[in-house]
Symmetry: C2
Subunit: 273 residues, 2 copies
DNA sequence: CCAATAGTGTCTGTGAGACAGTATAAG
DNA sequence: CTTATACTGTCTCACAGACACTATTGG
């Protein structure tokens, strides 16, 4: 290219077709917390993380489940705007917590053509859903097990059960970074099983040093409920006094109470920035 | 699309041109630590973070500095492979710590056409450089100042000084996430000023709960040197006893010593996984 | 009364922050 | 002897982990 063009001339003559091109998608892991009734009037509902999956009705991966997503409109929108557009379409929600997760780009991840996908994590409070999701289904994470760097996940939407297993392969030169390698996966399309795992790990890592949980909580909640959400994200039991000490700074007690649960009522709290 | 095709037929007939396409690049923030001699035989060298920048010799952003990067070869490589190819070209190094940072995708970030860039952070030990970098220059971070969510950075390669200022705009719905907005930047091309800041923040956040520093250290080092690297990354002084307590688990003392520094010699240590 | 959760008091151990002190090389 | 860094001892304070205890509801 000539050195003596002005910038304006240069841009006018620029032929953008000299570089090979590809398509991009934004895929969203929409995460929420759901409750399952225990058949005991005294016991509180069991809480689980749940994610929204869409059933594919076309090749490739026909009839498999995948994350909601869409192709990037190259001339108009950013990937985040694309993700918000999909979020609006699937849940009719806007103004939602959304964070970029990771860009997945294996050459053959989509058999049609080269597609690079930037994934996002959205956190929502399911109670805010003002419509039934169309053509999609909420899956609860009913099992999450990790041993020897191998993670097994089991999801259920009440009718269907989905299982997959991913091995975390340690990277050279580090002691704390992994590549994901899918070991078993019959039901999830593309590499979305890996996106799901990456998203869960992201949430788990951030839950202790940020306030992201409150994006999954209603305005008023009991400390017991909040603790359950932490426990389900961290996949372990917490001790009451320790939890209350830590959370005290982030919450404020209201005068409202939650009653009728078959045991001592509890105060409702609210998020305090 | 017809429902009665087999998957094979579907893929054969698939016309990938129905989606608009774009180009992608991988840009790398190559980070290292450099030492500057103090004019005092007793005092130890001053350590600084330094990054590798390339001078653009074409439009757009002619004569401005930018991160090493390259267009993705759509048919062959992943973004990380692309990044490693660039890394090899610029530094002749392979087998380097490399981690995906963030995907930058503002619609007008490249005036030629829509280009989405996935950025990577590479950490290297400058002593391992076996060749002079071509067409590129190491810039030391000689000033890093943050107040009121505004970060000012000053870089220098010995001849040229680069300044830029970025405001971190708090996101709705969170207390801990920011969008970067460039306030002043005359010398860095594209949005690479924001990539640099995001990279530095990533390293700073990870340095306390991972072992990434050792990627920037030679095999043998004194605890004083190691502490200086932590201090320069965290941009604050650390207390000796506390630092040594924490680092003890990650290092092992060797019988070697570093002498001739005008003061008490120190043992050389080595990374212990 | 029972079962279940709500909520608090307090002991203990760990570990970071802080400061003071000793050790040892080069010039 | 001075200067600068190397390295250690120890006190304090904050805070997480652990356990025990009291409170209060619906049935």
């Amino acid at each position: 290219m000539s050195e003596c063009l002005t910038e304006e001339e240069f841009l006018k003559n620029y032929d953008s077709s000299i570089y090979e091109k590809l398509s991009m998608t934004a895929d969203i892991l929409i995460v929420s917390v759901s409750s399952k009734d225990t058949n005991n009037y005294r016991k509180t509902d069991k809480k689980m993380m749940s994610i929204l999956l869409v059933k594919r009705d076309d090749y490739p991966y026909k009839d498999k489940w995948c994350l909601p997503g869409g192709f990037l409109d190259v001339n108009k929108e950013t990937l985040e705007e694309c993700a918000r557009r999909v979020l609006k379409r699937e849940t009719n929600l806007s103004n939602i917590y959304l964070e970029q997760l990771y860009t997945f780009d294996k050459v053959d991840r989509d058999p049609r053509m080269r597609v690079v996908s930037t994934s996002y994590v959205a956190l929502i409070d399911k109670e805010k859903l003002n419509q039934k999701v169309v053509n999609a289904s909420w899956f609860d994470i009913i099992k999450y097990e990790e041993k020897n760097n191998t993670v097994s996940l089991t999801l259920s939407n009440g009718e269907e059960i989905i299982d997959f297993t991913i091995t975390k392969k340690l990277r050279e030169k580090t002691t704390d970074r992994y590549d994901f390698v899918t070991k078993e996966n019959d039901s999830i399309a593309f590499d979305h099983d890996q996106v799901i795992l990456a998203g869960i790990e992201r949430i788990r890592n951030k839950v202790n040093y940020t306030d992201i949980v409150f994006n999954m909580m209603p305005e008023y909640f009991t400390l017991g409920e909040l603790q359950q959400v932490y426990e389900v994200i961290l996949n372990k039991k917490l001790l009451d006094p320790a939890f209350r000490r830590i959370i005290a700074k982030k919450t404020e007690k209201t005068s409202k109470m939650k009653t009728g649960e078959g045991h001592r009522p509890s105060y409702l709290f609210r998020y305090k920035k």
